[in-house]
Amino acid sequence: MLFNSLEFFIFLPIVFILYWFVFKKHLKTQNILLLIASYVFYGLWDWRFLSLILLSTIVDYFVALKINTLEHQTKRKLWLSVSIIFNLGLLGFFKYYNFFVDSWVDLVSMFGYHMQSNWTLKVILPVGISFYTFQTMSYSFDVYYKKIKPTRDFLSFAAFVSFFPQLVAGPIERASNLLHQITNKRTFNYNQSVSGLKLILWGLFKKVVIADALGPLVDDIFTNYNSYPSSTLILGAVFFSFQIYGDFSGYSDIAIGTAKLFGIELMSNFKFPYFSRNIGEFWRRWHISLSSWFQAYIYVPLGGSRQGKYKTIINVFIVFLISGFWHGANWTFILWGILHAVIFIPLLVLGQNTKYKNTILAEHSKLPSLKEFFSVLSVFSIVTFCWIFFRSESITDAFGFIGRIFTDFSYLSYSHPMGYRMIDYYILILFFVFYEFLIRKDERSPFNFKSKILRFVIYTIIIFCMLLFYDDNIDRSFIYFQF
């Protein structure tokens, strides 16, 4: 079920009413409702893959309990590896199996041996597998590191794993934040619900208006890059930057907003990443739940920054490499990860990666300084350049795309493949950037204006824009579902 579908807008009020009116008195029944609702939410896409979620839930539930009973470090590690092997095994089979087979065949053929790729399978990638496997693994990790005590309440744990707002595309939650909210009684909070509804509205705007409107343009430019000049290709890459941001942060906002309606607070996933002043800041603002996951469960266990600069660089490189690979079974993602590592590591060496850790753009002024402006622009340009690898179908396409940018220096006005006026899109993006700048201090309050009238006007404009840019003929699924 998609957040931007009719089914969801029927499903959500039904679950909301049942949750607060029918099952409110007993926490257990409320959690059973959450669990059933989450399984329905997922099962409407493909009920067969519910078994994977259930299996992952069962494995980590018992693994965590077992780890908790053991004192011997080796045995604890052994049980932890059960969780890791099981979850990564699921991921490996459904997401990476064909990639490994094809890569092996390619490698062998490089040495002159001709092999046919008979081992590849027609495997459907279960939606959200990368998200929920990481979430369940984090639970076992936290129990292993004694950060949390495991729960004996299986239903609550299953509801934690499958909590529908964040099940298929995150934020990837930690048990330390989410599980105790599920095991404790929730009370309806007016302000929290209003805040949730506002986030849902803002998320829908980012998805329906920004991401979906730019989608056909990006598809056209990236598919036919061979026939477009440099100016159009740059435009395509910039459009993709906004598309993926609108798509993914829009999803996260809807997820956080929906969770709020059920009295649950999820972690923030995006904090205006395109207003970052260096790439270190960007990675503290983009897909925060994944970055912090990698930091907690890969970077730190590898030694983090405690074992000298050289080891730190290696650790950072590994994290970026895995991060790229996590996104998809394609060399384009791996190269994307490596590129970010290459950009990040010099900052690390110079000790600049945490420079903007506790500040925001134009923190004490209405406008950014010239230096800040150019820093933001350069980070955005670098990130946009890297997105070319992320969006391209293959490495060859990515280099072909970049090659044309640097060789075909010509300008040609770009026309929308469906005949719409391009000026609408330029105005839209400018408006979006300007508005995001206005609200940059709090990513969880997109309409934080004192005047009620102003807020009402903004709601109306946002809904009006949704009507203006809604297109029934385009694919409205979320990009991150494929990961």
Binding site: S5, L6, E7, W20, F21, K24, K25, T187, F188, Y190, S193, V194, L197, P417, M418, G419, Y420, R421, D424, F456, Y459, T460, I463, F464, L467, L468, F469, Y470, D471, D472, N473
Partner: protein
Amino acid sequence: MMIILIDHLFISNFNIMKKLFLRLLLYVFCIVLILEVLVRVFHLTKDYPVRFVDELGVERWVPNQEGYSVTGNRRQNFSKFNINSSGYNSYRDFEPSKDKVELALVGDSFIEGFHQPYYNSIGKKIEAKINGVEVYEIGYGGYDFADQLHLIHQYQSFFDLIDLVVIGIKFEDDLTRNEYGILKERMKLESPMYRSLRNIKLLVYLQNIGAFSAAIKMTTTLFSLGQNNTSIHKKEDVNATQKRYVKYIKNFQSLVTKYGYDKTRFVLLLDKENSPKVFLDFLDKNSYNYIDFGEEINQSKIPTTLIYDQHWNNYGRNIVSNLISVYFKERVNNH
């Protein structure tokens, strides 16, 4: 004591939620009102002319209406229509006489031309190409061959004055009936309920951008649950296709026999590429003249249809008007 406390909590929660729902409703109501105003002010959606069935049983538009046709999001195609005194979208009134040279285009929405400014229609283009000829565009969205021949039959005295009648025909769509009858489904659109709904411009806009298609699809799926839908997805085999072609040709013959067809003055406008050979052979064998627009339209390197609509764009209309003009001139020369 505990029960009282829980009940108290429940009631207070209920009141808070009531506040939330009421506020939400108020906001939604106000926003919907403003959106209705915005849709009207920016004229984001099309105007619907009123249709009726006249005393001779012909379905057409109520004469003398004006409005704007809007296609695509954000008013991508915005054109004025002008329903003339005869109930068709045209820049001129139809006043045929023996002293003038007239050409009539009878067809469906392609001739009706709500997707184009009415003063830049195929008829207007033909008039620009042939001196002294008056072109009457008798187009109506959804007309099939039965509608067209029935119309010509009912208004025979009018059509007798016209020198050349071009009848648009799509084999696959227009020959499903062997007899004319008023299409009740179409006329339902003029029921008080539909008319009232059409007055809510926001609703019309949402329908046009496909915002309701998910709801319609869901309703259809729900209603079709448990029904055997295999026939819908079944691909037609060669025999069935041949049988259907034979049936359509029989329908053609039946309609011609019933309502008449003047082979000396009538000519069909069709796409040869999209008409089966058996039908084309039938037309040739029985001396039905036709103009093929398919070859030039389909092979054109410049787009001939609107991007968000299947109808002919200005270039497509140029091609069709050119073909009709050439045919008309040749016919005059031959006679």
